[in-house]
């Protein structure tokens, strides 16, 4: 019985955290993009626009859900549902940390560990295209249809290099389960640096990243919703919760893709630096540094509210630092910190590139996938296979 209760609690927690993160990713993205473009971004709702996701949610829920005439109603309503459902499923096989003991219960920080976890994520992501394609088709709108068509063609093309890129590190690790994948990367090179797959497989990591951009419909490959050509692409006709579902699906997909990249190439929840060199204390140090900096700035306020906001921020950061220094909580919190930090860094990269690169043209996108990315991934896989086979 304990197992069921524990699983229910974990499932609720994971769903809550994932949806909240997805909602706040919108805020983070708007803020980051704004600062890249020398703007301020959302400012009005709450301090620094922090309550913007909440306001967006209220707006989207209370808005009228329009169903245009002449659309195929069943598929029109089914498409956003399928998109968000498939986007949320794959997080269930992704671990967030090692086996831990909470209140005398030993459990993994993961919903379930499939023996074929990596394949499961690939399968779900390959089916995920139906949400977009169907939504575009059912809308009975030429822009939406073009968006849906582009999306399905793009997903098929980039799935190949993605799968080939993932296969190479899997050859090294000799497993398909995320949990075991992370455990094979547990050593430390020269006793210092984490023994990550990234150091052996830099090419496949790059190919994976590029394909992940295309799979999640992100700039520079966001052709399915290219604003200046297709209005809004596949979700042109959607409003209210249908639109919200597509948006949630997109951000949940980004989080999943980054988590997969973290587990396969960046050593999952393993620390960057070996524990005897202070790997356990890094989170505490980071938060403590942030807190002290905030308190230092509070002594020289430059703006009106600085003398109130900076002390609060600094004390909160110091509190977090203290929390991460409690030996009892460290086995739970430190792996979570590393997982969140690495995934967060990858997500930051996604947003950074959106602020940097222009969009590809459609023929460039296809030529790039088939004549460059696919051969590179294939050669990388062949070389890796050869090296693994020649190893004694």
């Amino acid at each position: 019985m304990n197992f069921y209760i524990l699983t229910l609690i974990k499932a609720g927690l994971v769903a809550f955290v994932l949806l909240t993160t997805a909602a706040y990713l919108v805020w983070i993205e708007r803020k980051l993009l704004a600062h890249i473009q020398l703007r301020l971004g959302p400012q009005r709702v709450g301090p620094h626009g922090l309550l913007q996701p909440l306001a967006d949610l209220v707006k989207l829920v209370t808005k009228e859900g329009l169903i245009p005439q002449q659309v195929n109603k069943i598929y029109f309503l089914l498409a956003p549902f399928a998109a968000v459902m498939l986007a949320l499923i794959s997080i269930s096989v992704i671990p967030f940390g090692p086996e831990v003991e909470i209140f005398g219960q030993r459990t993994w920080l993961q919903l379930t560990d499939l023996k074929i976890g990596v394949l499961f994520v690939l399968a779900i992501s390959s089916i995920g295209v139906y949400g977009v394609a169907l939504g575009g088709w059912a809308s009975n709108n030429k822009y939406a249809l073009l968006g849906g068509l582009r999306s399905s063609a793009q997903m098929i093309s980039y799935e190949l290099p993605l799968a080939l890129a993932i296969a190479a590190p899997l050859l090294l690790s000799n497993t398909l389960s995320f949990r075991e994948l992370v455990e094979t990367q547990s050593g430390f090179l020269g006793g210092v640096l984490g023994n990550w797959n990234l150091w052996y497989q830099p090419v496949s990591f790059l190919v994976f990243l590029i394909s992940a951009f295309a799979e999640t419909n992100r700039v520079p490959f966001d052709l399915p919703e290219a604003e200046n050509e297709l209005v809004a692409g596949f979700h042109t006709e959607y409003s209210s919760l249908g639109f919200a579902a597509f948006f949630t699906a997109e951000y949940a997909n980004i989080i999943t893709a980054c988590a997969v990249g973290t587990h396969i190439w960046l050593g999952g929840w393993q620390p960057i630096i070996a524990p005897h060199l202070g790997g356990i204390w890094v989170p505490s140090l980071v938060f403590a540094f942030f807190g002290i900096m905030s308190l230092f700035h509070a002594t020289q306020p430059a703006r009106r509210w600085d003398k109130y906001t900076f002390p609060v921020l600094g004390l909160a950061a110091l509190g977090l630092a203290a929390l991460f220094a409690i030996p009892l909580l460290q086995p739970v919190l430190v792996p979570l910190f590393w997982f969140a930090a690495k995934t967060g860094a990858l997500i930051f990269l996604f947003i950074w590139i959106r602020g940097t690169l222009p969009r590809f043209r459609y023929d460039q996108l296809m030529r790039f996938a088939w004549t460059f990315l696919f051969p590179v991934a294939l050669v990388n896989l062949l070389v890796t296979g050869l090296v693994v086979a020649l190893q004694p």
């Binding site: 074929i116 499961f120 399968a123 390959s126 394609a133 169907l134 249809l145 068509l149 098929i156």
Partner: protein
């Protein structure tokens, strides 16, 4: 539990297959086919063939059916008009079909030996390791011949397409 799950997904598979034939719109038919593939994948999973289940989803539901849907959407195929059914089909269709099913069931019952009962989860050779090993030792020749066949098909498609340019 296993039997209940089997019945549920077997029913979904058969229902989707029937709907695949009955639907008038190509997109609905394609989506029904995806339903069949998905239900089949779950049945594989129930048997313990995890790798097969994932491959079924990735290759059939994820790649081939996406291409189907892509082509249907690209050509913007509309609803199909039913052709006028002949009187023979209307009156003899269902009895003949029932007869065919009965004969097939009879042949399967008599000519195929009764092997062990299928026990759910009893099959443990379904992981990637075993499949890969079998594929590259026992079934190496069929595997390579199949890949050659696919290569020939690709070249044939290119040759056919080039004529049109």
């Amino acid at each position: 539990m296993d039997v209940i799950l089997f019945l549920i997904f077997a029913f979904i598979a058969v229902a989707s297959a029937v709907s695949l034939v009955l639907q008038r719109h190509p997109i609905s038919s394609a989506l029904s086919l995806i339903g069949v593939m998905g239900a089949l994948a779950v049945l594989y999973l129930l048997l313990g063939a995890e790798f097969m289940a994932a491959a079924q989803l990735i290759v059939y539901a994820g790649a081939i059916m996406v291409l189907f849907v892509f082509v249907i959407m690209l050509l913007n195929a509309g609803r199909e008009r039913p052709s006028a059914a002949s009187r023979l089909v209307r009156w003899l269709g269902i009895p003949l079909f029932t007869l065919f099913i009965g004969v097939m069931a009879y042949f399967i019952q008599t000519f195929f030996p009764k092997t062990l009962d299928v026990s759910f989860g009893g099959f443990t050779q379904g992981a990637g390791l075993e499949i890969g090993r079998q594929l590259f030792t026992r079934y190496l020749l069929p595997f390579e011949v199949t890949s050659l066949l696919i290569l020939i098909a690709i070249i044939g498609a290119i040759v056919l397409a080039r004529k049109e340019i």
